[in-house]
C-alpha cells in the first residue's frame, strides 16, 4: 500500500513538473528569453528525472523484478529515457523545447485512465524470466526514446521548412500568388533538396531567416547524432532479443509481428543514415525518412500491441 501511495505521489509530481516546464518553455519561446525562468525549467526537468527514477526504483523493489514487464512500466521507462535525452543536449535550449512535451505525453498517457487496469505490477510469465529481459527491453525502450527524440527534431525541420516555403510564397507578388503557387513550390522543393542552397537563399531574405537556417542546421545535426545513438541501441536491442528468442522460443528469428516491425524500424533508420551519406539527399529528404520512422516506431510500440498478435503479447491493452 505504501508503495502504491509513493508511486502516486511520484507520478503526480513528475507530471505536474513537466507541465510547468513546458509552459515555461512556451513562455520563453513567445516572450523574449528570461534567464531566470529558463534556469528553473532546467531544474524542473532534473526534478522530473529524479521523480521518474524514483518511481521506477519503487516499482522494482515492490515487484522484485525489473519494471519492464508491461506497457505501463515500459511507458514510464520511455519517459525516463526522454528526460535523459532532454538533459543531454541541454545547452541547446530550443531543442529541449521539442523534447520536453514528449515526456509529458508519454507520462500523461501512461497515467491516464486508459491504462488503469494494468497499473498493478503483474507477475512475470515464464518466458520473461530471463536475464535477457533487462538487456533487451531496456535497450529497446532507450532506442525508442532516442529515435523518437531524433525523429521529432526531423519533424520539426520539416515543419519549419514548410512554413518557410509558405512564407516565401507569401512574400512573392500577390498577383501571381495563385498562378505561381505550384510552380514556385516545385522550384523551392528542388532547392530544398540541397540544404546549403536553402541556407544561402534564405539568408537573403532577412536577418531572422539567417538564424532560422542556423537553427535548422542545428536541428539537423543533433537529429542525426541522436538517431545514430538510437540506432546503436536498437541494433543491440534487436540482436539481444534474437539471442533471447533462441533461448526461449527455439529460433533467433520468428517473423513475429513485433520483431518484424522492429526490423522495419531498423531498416527505415538505416535508410536515414544512408541518405545522410549523400549530400543531395541530405536535409529535407532525410528528415522525411526520419519522420516516417517516427510513425513506424509508434506502430512498432503500440500498433502491434493493439492488434494483440504474436508472441510479444505481454504489452497489450486488454489483459487476456
Amino acid at each position: 500500500m505504501i508503495f502504491s501511495t509513493l508511486e502516486h505521489i511520484l507520478t503526480h509530481i513528475s507530471f505536474s513538473v513537466v507541465s510547468i516546464v513546458i509552459s515555461i518553455h512556451l513562455i520563453t519561446l513567445l516572450v523574449n528569453e528570461i534567464v531566470g525562468l529558463y534556469d528553473s525549467s532546467e531544474k524542473g526537468m532534473i526534478i522530473t528525472f529524479f521523480c521518474i527514477t524514483g518511481l521506477l526504483v519503487t516499482r522494482w523493489i515492490f515487484s522484485s523484478h525489473l519494471p519492464f514487464s508491461d506497457l505501463y512500466e515500459s511507458l514510464i521507462f520511455l519517459s525516463w529515457g526522454f528526460s535523459i535525452f532532454h538533459m543531454l543536449p541541454c545547452l541547446q535550449n530550443h531543442l529541449s523545447t521539442i523534447i520536453a512535451p514528449s515526456v509529458l505525453f508519454t507520462q500523461g498517457f501512461a497515467t491516464s485512465g486508459l491504462l488503469t487496469k494494468i497499473h498493478q505490477s503483474t507477475i512475470l510469465v515464464p518466458a520473461l524470466q530471463s536475464h535477457w529481459l533487462m538487456m533487451h527491453v531496456s535497450m529497446m525502450i532507450l532506442s525508442y526514446a532516442a529515435l523518437l527524440c531524433g525523429s521529432l527534431l526531423s519533424v520539426a525541420i520539416l515543419v519549419i521548412t514548410v512554413r518557410e516555403v509558405i512564407q516565401i510564397v507569401g512574400k512573392s507578388n500577390n498577383l501571381y500568388f495563385l498562378n505561381e503557387l505550384f510552380s514556385f513550390a516545385e522550384i523551392k522543393y528542388i532547392n530544398l533538396n540541397e540544404r546549403n542552397n536553402v541556407l544561402q537563399k534564405t539568408s537573403f531574405f532577412s536577418y531572422r531567416n539567417y538564424y532560422k537556417s542556423q537553427f535548422i542546421q542545428q536541428l539537423d545535426r543533433w537529429g542525426y547524432r541522436i538517431i545514430s545513438l538510437g540506432f546503436i541501441f536498437l541494433t543491440i536491442g534487436i540482436l539481444s532479443g534474437a539471442v533471447w528468442a533462441n533461448e526461449a522460443w527455439g529460433s533467433y528469428w520468428n517473423w513475429d509481428p513485433k520483431e518484424t516491425w522492429a526490423f522495419i524500424t531498423w531498416t527505415i533508420f538505416a535508410i536515414y543514415l544512408h541518405t545522410r551519406k549523400k549530400k543531395k539527399l541530405e536535409g529535407v529528404n532525410s528528415s522525411m525518412v526520419a519522420s516516417m520512422g517516427f510513425f513506424i516506431i509508434w506502430i512498432c510500440y503500440f500498433g502491434i500491441n493493439l492488434l494483440g498478435i504474436g508472441l510479444h503479447s505481454y504489452g497489450s491493452f486488454i489483459s487476456n
Binding site: I123, L124, V125, P126, A127, Q129, S130, W132, Q218, R221, W222, Y224, R225, S228, L229, F231, I232, T235, I236, L239, A242, V243, W244, N246, E247, A248, W249, G250, S251, Y252, W253, W255, P257, T260, W261, F263, I264, T267, I268, A270, I271, H274, T275, K277, K278, K279, I304, I309, N320
Partner: protein, 566 residues
C-alpha cells in the same frame, strides 16, 4: 567540388581532393587502361597497375614541387606510403583519365566486354539510391506480411480478399496467392529482394568501402592556405607555432603528423572504417540465416511424464542441406514434468527433467530444462515450449489406481482447460452419467457430480477422498505432459558471430572521424578541419583546444620553422 563521378555514393567527396591517385578506381571507365594485360578475371589487378603508374607520375610531380625529402616529427608510427597532393592536382589526373578509354577502345575484346559488363553490374548494384529503394521495398513487404495473415489455407484468402470487393481497388486473393504473400517471409519476391540487397551490400563494400580503407590509411598534407580555409571549420591563429598545435592535438588524442610547416592530424579513423564491418556483419548474418533455412532440423513433441522418444523420430529436415548426425539416435526420457506457481496460483515456470540415453541405453546427460533454459546435447537443442495434462490417476472406492485420460477442452493461449469423466452406473446405457473432473493446471482438480453440480476441489497427492453419489474418489496424481521443441541449427554460430560483429561495429561507427590540417604561414598558423559525424561538437572542441595554444612573444621560433620548410 571537383569533376567527380556520382556513381560512388558511399564515398565522401573530400577524399578525392586529397588522394586523386585513386581516381581511376572510382571512375568506372568502361575500359581499363591496361586491357592488354591477360585477363584473369581479377579486376583489381589492372586497377592497381593503373594507379601505380599514376602514383609514380604524381610522385615525380611532387618531387619537382617539393625537392628535398622532409622529415616527419611528432610521430612514431611508420607511415603508409606518402601521398602529397596539391589542391589543384585533380585537374591533371582528370584529363589523363579522359584519354584512357580512347587508347584502349582499339583493343576492345571479349574479355574487355565481360569485364565491362561485370563492372557495369557492380556499378549499378553499388548505387546508393538503388540500395535505398531495396531497403524501402523490403520494409514495405515486411509490413505487408504483418497485415496479411500468414500461413492460412487458400480458402481463408478467398474470404479475406474477395474478387468482388478488392482491397484498395485492386488487391485480391489472386495477388496474395500469385506473389506468395500468404507466406511472405519465404516468398520468392521477398527472398529475391533480400538477395538483391545482399548483392548490393557486397558491391558497395567492394567498390567503394574497401578502396576507402586504402584512401583513409594514407594521410595527406594540405600545402595551401586556401585549401585549409575551405574546410568546414577553419581558424587562423596569429603568433602561434605549429609544434604547439601538434602537441596539443596529440594531448587530445589525435594522431599527429608534422612535416615542415604542414600538419595533419586525425582521430577516430575506426569510425570511418566500421561501416565496412557493419556490412560484412550483415552479410554474415544473411549467410547464417540462409544456412539455418536450408540446413536445420525441427520438430516438436508432447511427451507424457515417464515416457520417452528418439530424437531423430521427431526431427524433420527443413532444407536440402539438412543431414542427420549420430546424435539423432539419442533417446530422450521425460523423468518428470512439473510447474512452479506464484502464491496467487499462477504458473511461474515449467520444468522438465530429461535424461538422454545413447543407443546402448546408457544415460549420457541429465538436465532439468525450463523456459529460457534449454538443453544442448551435441547438435541438438531441446526447448521447453508447451505443456498439457495427459492423465489423472484416481482411486475409485479404493480400487485402482485408474488412469483417466484428460481431454483438452480449451487450449487457446495460456488459459488451458482439461477434463475427464468417470462413468457411473451402466456404461452401455444411451445417456450415461458420471462424475466430471476439470483441471486448469496440475495444482487443483475441480469435481462435478452426476447432475453437473459443483462438488468440490481436490489437490493431487492430498489423499483427501471426496464422496459423490456414494462413490468415494481419491485423486492420486495428475500426470502432465511436456511440450518440447527439438532443433538442430548449423547456422547459429555464424549468425551469432554476425550479431557480435554487428553490435561492435555499429557502436564503433558512432565515433566521428575528424581530420585537421594546419599550415604555418609566417607567424600565423592556419588550421582547418572537418569531421564526418559530430558536426556540432567539433567546432566547440576545436575552439576549446585552440584556446590552449600559447601565444609566442618572440617570433624566432616560427622563423626557424620557416627556414626549415624553405
Amino acid at each position: 567540388m571537383i569533376p567527380l563521378n556520382s556513381s560512388n555514393p558511399c564515398l565522401s567527396n573530400t577524399h578525392f581532393l586529397k588522394v586523386p591517385i585513386f581516381d581511376p578506381f572510382f571512375k568506372f571507365k568502361t575500359f581499363s587502361f591496361n586491357t592488354h594485360i591477360p585477363s584473369n578475371g581479377h579486376h583489381a589487378l589492372s586497377f592497381r597497375i593503373n594507379s601505380k603508374l599514376k602514383s609514380s607520375q604524381d610522385i615525380q610531380k611532387n618531387k619537382g614541387n617539393n625537392g628535398v625529402s622532409q622529415k616527419i616529427i611528432l610521430s612514431e608510427v611508420s607511415p603508409p606510403p606518402l601521398t602529397e597532393v596539391d589542391g589543384d592536382i585533380n585537374g591533371g589526373t582528370g584529363n589523363e583519365n579522359e584519354n584512357v578509354p580512347l587508347k584502349s577502345k582499339n583493343k576492345g575484346s571479349v574479355s574487355g566486354l565481360a569485364r565491362m559488363l561485370s563492372k557495369r553490374t557492380l556499378q549499378i548494384l553499388s548505387n546508393l539510391p538503388l540500395a535505398i529503394g531495396e531497403m524501402f521495398t523490403i520494409a514495405a513487404l515486411m509490413a505487408l506480411g504483418t497485415f496479411i495473415d500468414q500461413g492460412e489455407a487458400p480458402d481463408h484468402y478467398f474470404q479475406q480478399y474477395p474478387e468482388d470487393r478488392p482491397v484498395l481497388g485492386f488487391f485480391t486473393w489472386r495477388w496474395v496467392l500469385a506473389l506468395g504473400f500468404d507466406h511472405m517471409y519465404s516468398s520468392p519476391v521477398f527472398l529475391g529482394m533480400l538477395a538483391l540487397l545482399g548483392a548490393s551490400l557486397m558491391a558497395c563494400t567492394y567498390t567503394t568501402q574497401i578502396p576507402l580503407v586504402k584512401v583513409s590509411r594514407r594521410w595527406s598534407f594540405l600545402h595551401s592556405a586556401e585549401a585549409i580555409r575551405k574546410q568546414e571549420f577553419s581558424e587562423s591563429l596569429p603568433r602561434a607555432s605549429i609544434q604547439d598545435v601538434g602537441t596539443i592535438l596529440m594531448g587530445a588524442g589525435y594522431e599527429v603528423f608534422l612535416k615542415g610547416p604542414c600538419l595533419y592530424a586525425f582521430q577516430g579513423l575506426a569510425g570511418r572504417l566500421a561501416p565496412i564491418g557493419v556490412h560484412i556483419a550483415l552479410l554474415l548474418i544473411m549467410a547464417g540465416g540462409t544456412l539455418s533455412a536450408v540446413g536445420s532440423f525441427k520438430g516438436s513433441v508432447t511427451v507424457p511424464q515417464g515416457l520417452n522418444f528418439v530424437a531423430g523420430d521427431v526431427l524433420s529436415p527443413t532444407g536440402f542441406l539438412s543431414s542427420p548426425t549420430e546424435d539423432f539416435n539419442t533417446e530422450v526420457h521425460v523423468n518428470r514434468f512439473y510447474m512452479d506457481y506464484y502464491d496467487s496460483g499462477e504458473v511461474s515456470q515449467f520444468h522438465t527433467d530429461l535424461s538422454l540415453l545413447d543407443i546402448d541405453g546408457k544415460e549420457v546427460m541429465r538436465k532439468t530444462i525450463s523456459v529460457n533454459d534449454p538443453l544442448r546435447y551435441g547438435s541438438i537443442t531441446i526447448y521447453q515450449t508447451d505443456w498439457s495434462i495427459s492423465a489423472l490417476q484416481i482411486l475409485k472406492n479404493n480400487e485402482g489406481p485408474y488412469n483417466l485420460a484428460m481431454a483438452p477442452l480449451q487450449i487457446n493461449g495460456d488459459k488451458k482447460l482439461y477434463g475427464t469423466f468417470v462413468p457411473v452406473g451402466d456404461i452401455n446405457s444411451p445417456d450415461v452419467k458420471g462424475i466430471s473432473m476439470l483441471a486448469r493446471d496440475l495444482q487443483s482438480i475441480v469435481i462435478y457430480d452426476t447432475e453437473g453440480k459443483f462438488a468440490g476441489v481436490r489437490r493431487p497427492n492430498s489423499k483427501l477422498p471426496i464422496n459423490i453419489n456414494g462413490i468415494e474418489i481419491v485423486i492420486v496424481d495428475a500426470i502432465g505432459s511436456s511440450g518440447l521443441d527439438l532443433k538442430t541449427d548449423p547456422g547459429v554460430p555464424i549468425v551469432y558471430a554476425g550479431f557480435g560483429a554487428l553490435m561492435l561495429t555499429t557502436c564503433i561507427s558512432y565515433l566521428s572521424h575528424s581530420q585537421i590540417w594546419a599550415l604555418q604561414d609566417g607567424t600565423t598558423v592556419i588550421i582547418g578541419g572537418k569531421t564526418n559525424r559530430a558536426k556540432m561538437e567539433f567546432p566547440e572542441e576545436m575552439n576549446h583546444l585552440l584556446d590552449k595554444v600559447p601565444e609566442i612573444i618572440q617570433p624566432s621560433l616560427s622563423q626557424q620553422a620557416d627556414c626549415i620548410s624553405g
